[in-house]
């Protein structure tokens, strides 16, 4: 099955072509079925690959063809199949499949549904390339591809202005990150002579470069990860990306694309392990982002925005894990987060769908009676987000903060704990405002309905994962399945490897649980009992509250300081594009038209003229013949 690993991206690629070429005129809503089937097939192959790796296959490279061979530089279209990539493949394909099935219901009435599935299929293809690549260059192809699809899908409803503005913002911020990735990639080539992971790892073992060089490379790659995974300072595109359809938010901005940055750092683990300062940066940025985003999520009223900031925060946790030397924990959290965050988004989508498009939680309330399946599945997901045992989220998050403590980063541990409290609070708030209490808008409430089974079945499937995944692969802590499986792939020899006392583990776990419970209790107090009353609290915090609602005015800051500063440059670039580039393109057309117009006059319609032309040609021929014969022409 590993030999067939290239089937995994092949199916979505085929779906993309079919849906793209035939979707508009012939296939319409059938594109959804085709795309879902394709991703489903990929999932099956991914499971097969995973099982084979599980059975003890060594890290394998499956080459499709030699892509670039210039001088000493080689970059192939090849897949690196090892525990890390097989886990990623599994997560991407399975979650994508469930989201695709869901989308068949959610997007059913949209007139652009074929376009939706075309881009979604392309996205899955690009993401799979990203995850499977065996070298940074091919990975970059997938990296850019998912960025492109993110742009296309955020701006899916481009008839309205907000989506395409958000799409542009996402793409531009991504691009800034890509600049970092490119520098990292090129430096890698300069230093190691190759961009292929196995080559680099081998060189690292034999004859590692200096720490300063490695720091440069790893920081550059981290800049790229920041853009793609929405960490400070390149995070603000993610909340705006909620303009896209909810399945897009679930798939791209929760489960897969935004995890690409985490994957990048995890994949480059040997490089990071040897560049200590970078790890500190990674961990700190992750932790700060986590708490920063969580504070904003506390006061948002749009249900999708709450989830968006939550995603930014949880991604911060993953980078925190990477920074403190626990890459397995990071990937573990990536996997569990994919499930419960996708579930939260899809559930939100179900709510929005049931309310015919309303997203403001202030207008919701009491929906649990009207949408029971959505309610119960989201409840489980919310619990996982709040890290309540035995749900999946608990195991992974606890491992992260626990590693922070045991590997010697007490401050980061504290940040993680505080963020956990905030997380539990805002999840409780969101759940209560949406599903409990009295309905605030009776008109909406009357018409609310549960979603069709094509949407609720994926919710249930994801809920199963949310409940079981943590225990299944993360127990017992530090020596569960995922540790023995992934560990060798991402841990480097000599990494933080101290045995921790069982008592410490239990104590840390209890603190984590306590943090979650505390957050939930505060939420209950404020929203169920109204003591303290949220309105009063917001007034008490006055300016800080306003700052939070306005997202710390970060967007305004960027706009004023950065965008304005470059406005002159933008003008020049625009003028160049309009006058030079378009001038060339239009000029070619103008030349073609004018020359055609001129040459047209040769066709006089008088046949005699044509005969004359033939005779004239004969004259030319004779002259030429004479010239050759006389030795004047030719040699």
């Amino acid at each position: 099955m590993i030999g067939n690993v290239w089937l995994i991206p092949a199916f979505p690629l085929a779906a993309f072509l079919v849906c793209g070429l035939f979707g508009r005129r012939w296939l319409h809503r059938w594109t959804g079925v085709i795309a879902s089937a394709a991703v489903g097939a990929s999932a099956i192959v991914a499971i097969g690959v995973f099982l084979e790796v599980l059975g003890g296959k060594e890290r394998t490279t499956v080459k499709l063809y030699e892509w670039i061979a210039v001088g000493d530089f080689r970059s192939n279209v090849a897949a690196l199949v090892d525990p890390l990539s097989s886990v990623m493949l599994l997560v991407v394909t399975v979650v994508s499949f469930l989201i695709f099935v869901y989308s068949n219901g959610y997007m059913a009435h949209d007139h652009g549904v074929h376009r939706f599935f075309t881009w979604m299929s392309l996205f899955v293809f690009a993401m799979l390339i990203l995850v499977m690549a065996d070298n940074y260059l091919l990975m970059f192809v997938g990296w850019e591809g998912v960025g492109l699809c993110s742009y296309l899908l955020i701006g899916f409803w481009f008839e309205r202005p907000e989506p395409y503005v958000a799409a542009k913002k996402a793409f531009v911020m991504n691009r800034i990150g890509d600049w970092g990735y490119t520098i990292g990639m090129i430096t890698t080539f300069l230093v190691f002579g190759s961009m292929t992971f196995t080559d680099i790892f081998a060189r690292m073992e034999r004859d590692a470069p200096t720490q300063s060089v490695l720091t440069l490379i790893t920081i550059a790659f981290f800049v790229g990860a920041t853009g793609k995974s929405a960490q400070l300072p390149l995070y603000s595109w993610l909340p705006d990306a909620m303009e896209g359809p909810t399945p897009v938010s679930a798939l791209i901005h929760a489960a897969t694309m935004v995890t690409a940055g985490v994957y990048l750092v995890a994949r480059s683990a040997p490089l990071y392990a040897a560049a200590g300062p970078s790890l500190v940066v990674v961990g700190t940025v992750g932790a700060v982002t986590a708490i920063f985003a969580a504070t904003i999520a506390l006061v948002q009223f749009d249900i999708k925005r709450v989830m968006a900031y939550s995603t930014v925060s949880q991604l911060g946790y993953m980078f925190l894990a990477l920074g403190v030397g626990a890459p397995v924990a990071a990937i573990f959290h990536l996997a569990t987060h994919a499930f419960f965050k996708a579930l939260l988004f899809l559930g939100s989508g179900s709510v929005i769908h049931g309310l015919e498009g309303e997203q403001d939680m202030r207008k919701m309330g009491g929906l649990r009676r009207k949408m029971p399946i959505t309610y119960w599945t989201m409840l489980l997901a919310g619990g996982a987000l709040a890290a309540l045992p035995p749900l999946a989220g608990f195991w992974s998050k606890d491992e992260i903060v626990g590693a922070a403590y045991t590997n010697g980063y007490p401050i980061l541990w504290a940040v993680g704990i505080v963020t956990a409290v905030l997380t539990a609070f805002y999840v409780t708030r969101a759940m209560w405002m949406t599903f409990h209490g009295e309905p605030r808008e009776h008109h909406l409430y009357e018409h609310a309905h549960e979603s069709p089974s094509v949407m609720t079945l994926p919710l249930i499937a994801l809920a199963v994962g949310t409940v079981t995944l943590g225990v299944a692969i993360g127990w017992p802590p530090d020596s569960g399945f995922i540790h023995t499986f992934l560990g060798p792939a991402v841990e480097t020899p000599g990494a933080a490897d101290h045995a921790v006392a069982v008592g410490t583990i239990v104590a840390l776990a209890l603190v984590s649980i306590a943090a979650g419970v505390l957050g939930i209790l505060i939420g209950f107090a404020m929203y169920v009992r109204r003591r303290p009353d949220p309105v009063a609290v917001s007034r008490a915090f006055g300016w800080y509250y306003r700052a939070l609602v306005n997202k710390y005015y970060v967007d305004e800051l960027y706009d004023h300081r950065i965008v304005e500063a470059f406005r002159g440059l933008f003008g020049i670039a625009w003028a160049f594009d309009v006058h030079v580039i378009d001038g060339i393109a239009n000029g070619i057309g103008w030349i073609a038209a004018r020359s055609g117009g001129g040459l047209r006059r040769v066709q006089t319609g008088v046949v005699g003229n044509y005969a004359l032309t033939i005779v004239a040609g004969l004259l030319v021929l004779l002259v030429a013949y004479g010239g050759y014969a006389a030795g004047v022409l030719g040699r």
């Binding site: 005699g608 003229n609 004359l612 005779v615």
Partner: protein, 166 residues
């Protein structure tokens, strides 16, 4: 020896006939004159064939060209009566250019071709047998194709001149 002089004289006569009649065709004022001069040219060319010893070909020339084609042309003249005033416009607009191109080529080719030499023994006559053998045996298939082509041309011509009411 007298034979040779006769031949040369005959050749000269025919040449004068051909060239003057051809020029006449091009420059004649009335079409009927042009048509009859064309027929005369054909006759002279037939004479040339006889001089070369290809009598059968000469016979065919007279039969087909003078006999059939001239008649066809005359029919064509008959069915396309013109306003006599149209004769004022005699030459095409492109005539100067035509003269410019044709004259040098013509002169050059004519002068150049005069230099051809032959090594023939020059048997007179006896061209029918080899000709017939060749046409019907070696080139039988092209012969059949040619007949089909004639048929197609006939049908085509009829179709072209058919009036819609017919």
């Amino acid at each position: 020896m007298s034979f040779d002089v006769l031949e040369l004289a005959f050749f000269g006569l025919l040449t004068v006939g051909i060239v003057s009649a051809a020029i006449g065709v091009v420059l004649a004022n009335r079409i009927t004159t042009a048509a009859l001069l064309m027929a005369f040219t054909f006759l002279n060319v037939a004479g040339m064939f006889v001089l070369l010893g290809a009598e059968t070909i000469a016979a065919f020339q007279v039969l087909i060209y003078v006999g059939a084609i001239t008649v066809l042309i005359l029919y064509g003249v008959m069915f396309t009566p013109q306003n006599p005033r149209a004769y004022a416009l005699f030459f095409q607009r492109q005539t100067p250019w035509a003269a410019l191109f044709v004259a040098p080529i013509g002169i050059f080719v004519a002068v150049y071709s005069l230099s051809f030499r032959d090594t023939a023994t020059g048997t007179k006559g006896h061209d029918l047998e080899p000709l017939a053998t060749s046409v019907f045996r070696d080139f039988g298939f092209p012969f059949e194709i040619a007949s089909v082509l004639l048929l197609a041309a006939m049908i085509g011509a009829i179709v072209l001149v058919r009036r819609e009411e017919d």
